[in-house]
Amino acid sequence: MSRLLVPLIILCAALGILLSIEQPGNDADLIIASEDEIKTLDPQRMSWLHDMRLAYALYEGLTRWNTNDFTIESAIAQSWNSSEDGLLWRFHIDPQARWSNGTPVTAHDFVWSWQRLLLPDTAADYSDLLFPVQGAEEFWNWRAEKLASFSGGEQEAEELMEETDRRFHETVGIRALDHSTLELQLARPVPYLLDLLAFAPLLPVHRPSVEGWMVSDADLEDMKGPSGWHFMNPPPWSERRFIALSPQTGRLQVDHRWARPGTLVSNGDYVLDRWRYRRDLRLTRNPESRRPLNGAAREILVVSIPDPNTALLAFRAGEVDWLTGVSADVRRDLLDAASDSQADQTRLVRSIRAIPSFGTDFFSFNCRPTLPDGRANPFHQAEVRRAFALATDKQSIVNHVTGLHEPISGSMSPAGGIKGYEPPNGLGFDPDAALRELASAGWGLDDEHNLRSASGELFPEIELLYTTSSSRHQRIATALRGQWEETLGVNVRLVGKDSKAFSVDLRQGDFMIARGRWYGDWGDPTTFLNLFRTGNGNNDRGFSNESIDAALAAADVQSDPAARYRSMAAVEKDLFEKHLPLLPICQIVEIGMYDPQQLSGMTTHPRLIQYLGDIRFVKETP
């Protein structure tokens, strides 16, 4: 018998060892939970809202938003002025601004960070944000070409990098006039430039920490002088811990371990205290923050709870103060949960925050004349696209299919997202008008309610492509099939694919109708309307129209904001009443949970950007 106990003893011992490795989690004033994981803390590499929320807590840019109405406030830039034509900008940097290691934030920090964004090596999704800057796009293309034709060699890679630096400083209109003055020379006016400067990819990073320079204490003291790190000569490549030049490809290779506690130097309200992969991330107040604490959280814990039910339970149990997103499939359960128990109900119900966001759910029409397999594409004709839009009862979809009562959309820009911009209404639900559109394209209903051409040919079967990752898309696709079959007498085949296969089809134009979703990035209609420019990298529909391109280009150079918004609205009206490259369904509603009797300072604006340093605890009144 005694020998039989040995396996048990071994099990217990192993368990004891494993448990002793684990460090207990620290408490924090504010606990935020998300179903999403944190992908990166490198602002130039960011694409996701969840990551950006952390970027806004860690870093501070030239400007920031007032998150009530998304007007611009000064941040690191104390003041700025621009030339009459809006092409030359000067920003005056707050001399008090400091990095978390005590060194000053200078104009050089922005020059270097933006050069980083503009290097093809960084592979930033948002490189093109800076393309309106003089010489920037040419610089990007030049480096990309040089890298493509790179033949190898350590020496050659370093020489190319030196030439790249030189070229950037000589040709790109981003310059530090002195330590605290940044000059931006644009090639074409960007009316929303100040809004863009607050956006995560344009936040500054601290070069010595990103590249992993070995900085001695004496060096650090020197770097506290007015020029920051800029007076130092960068160490040789071999002595930079987190960056290297690949002798094979010539590209900069970043070791992302710079963005870890201890090495990440930031200039925002918070500093990174701990980060455990897909588990939790802890922020503590940055002692060098320019803003007074003023009741904001001292420590913030951001945890990942991937299972939506568990996230909800954790909120109900009071373990989480703010649940940033409740996923589509549980949302209805959530609304039902309100009728659960009496005591819980009031807190739970008042905690549900459903906010129409800065994003639109839509279905793309393939606008190309043929499909990749050579078949003719019926949606090449605008009449057919208009007919399908007119035959769609969006209100019934948001009432009965999604059940979330989202505001329905007739156009791409969400209502209320951009101050002063009124998106057009687009086409409503009108089955008769839909049939008239089809008739003008040569199609009509026969006695058996089938859509045929005059020569008796059946309308081709329609393939409706959607992603199976969420039941929401499947339900909407099924509802659309029902509506179109009933109103238009067409055959619709649902094609459900997992997201990777879906994106490949989308990219290759291998679809007739495909689901889509787009969130705006900056406070200007172009953040949505750029998708309809010929050749835009995200123009999945293959839509191309000369008059739209010309109208957008004309609006680009319009300096009067009101007139500009009017011409943008006219373009959008044209797009969504005449061309219909896609069928907008509704504004995306984001559901989060926090108790307004506990937290204040939370934004309810569609853009949903939340500065964590703005969150306040409501004082409990006895």
């Binding site: 048990l8 494993l18 990309a144 992302h256 992969y277 568990t310 109900r316 990298g537």
Partner: protein, 321 residues
């Protein structure tokens, strides 16, 4: 026995190579491009090409050989001993982390859940199996049998969510999320242990019934030894042998197959991320996890075999393999 252990250790690299090749082939065949995303912006085409080239996604053979070099230590040798010996590379979907770091961080957590579950399963299973086996057909036997059936048949996500609701939200005895203390481990370990406990109970009950009818038990009773001593000294040591041999694969299964439990209880273990890696076609992550899991499986089985031979000296290891 030493020879057998040595043989097994020699076999390990061969097994791992086969696993590597098979996993690589299957992972490569997952449709889609790991760098592609469904929603949101896309980087310019030139960047995407460069990224594909950097990840060697255009040529399976190149990826296969260079990655094999990285994980086998060949690259390390050719570099002259710089960097990690076994390099699983960075994760494709989580660029800030290397696969090695992820495994080192998450595997102990999965192991903790798995081992606690097995420990619980042994306690629950052996107790209820013995109770049932001593009086087959009795009420207590039926009751434990019923619990065993329930333990096997209710899916983990149902039982896990129910436990969270009862223990975390209503009774508030346990935290709903988080990790690090025994309170966090209790519920998931219990939820994960149920199917294993049910199986152990069946094995124990079967063993006890068989041994109780054996001649030596009758002899022992005839000698006047107390019923309790008969159980502990004679019946159980023999009845529990099948349980010991089941513990090896069960431990491996509990440590590697707990992804549903991990997701429900939001435990930051490896199982869940492995599933995500497969769905996202994160090649280095898939390969790394599979290789680590397979090594673990082989070593655990070996450990159990050795222990088995040690507990019951009648068994010779050589002939059993």
């Amino acid at each position: 026995m030493k020879r057998v252990i040595a043989m097994r250790l020699v076999q390990l690299p061969v097994i791992l190579l086969a696993v590597y090749t098979l996993t690589f082939a299957l992972a490569w065949l997952i449709p889609g491009n790991p760098l592609e995303r469904t929603d949101g912006r896309r980087p310019p085409a030139a960047i995407e090409e460069a990224m594909r080239a950097q990840w060697q996604l255009d040529d399976p053979w190149q990826f296969y050989w260079s990655y094999l070099g990285d994980v086998s230590g060949v690259t390390w040798l050719s570099r002259g001993g710089e960097g990690p010996v076994i390099d699983f590379g960075p994760s494709m979907r989580h660029e800030n982390w290397s696969v090695g770091e992820i495994i080192a961080g998450q595997l102990p957590i999965s192991m903790t859940v798995g081992l606690s579950a097995i420990l619980l399963a042994v306690i629950i299973g052996v107790t209820s199996g013995t109770i049932g086996g001593m009086r087959p057909g009795s009420w207590s036997d039926l009751a434990t049998g019923l619990i065993a059936v329930v333990g096997v048949s209710i899916p983990a996500f149902v039982i896990g969510t129910a436990m969270l609701l009862a223990g975390g939200v209503w009774l508030k005895w346990f935290p709903v999320t988080g990790w690090g203390s025994w309170e966090h481990i209790a519920l998931p370990a219990l939820a994960l242990s149920l199917p294993f406990a049910a199986w152990i109970a069946r094995l124990t009950r079967q063993g006890v019934i068989e041994e109780m009818q054996a001649d030596y038990v009758r002899t022992a009773r005839a000698k006047g030894i107390s019923e309790r001593a008969v159980m502990t000294r004679h019946v159980l040591p023999n009845a529990l042998l099948p349980v010991v041999s089941y513990l090896g694969p069960a431990t491996a299964a509990a440590m590697t197959g707990s992804f549903v439990i991990e997701k429900v209880f939001s435990i930051p273990g490896l199982g869940m991320h492995f599933v995500d890696a497969v769905l996202g076609k994160d090649l280095p992550m898939i390969m790394g996890v599979v290789l680590v899991y397979s090594s673990l499986l082989v070593l655990l089985n070996l450990a159990v075999d050795v222990m088995y031979a040690w507990i019951d000296p009648r068994i010779t290891l050589g002939s059993s393999t």
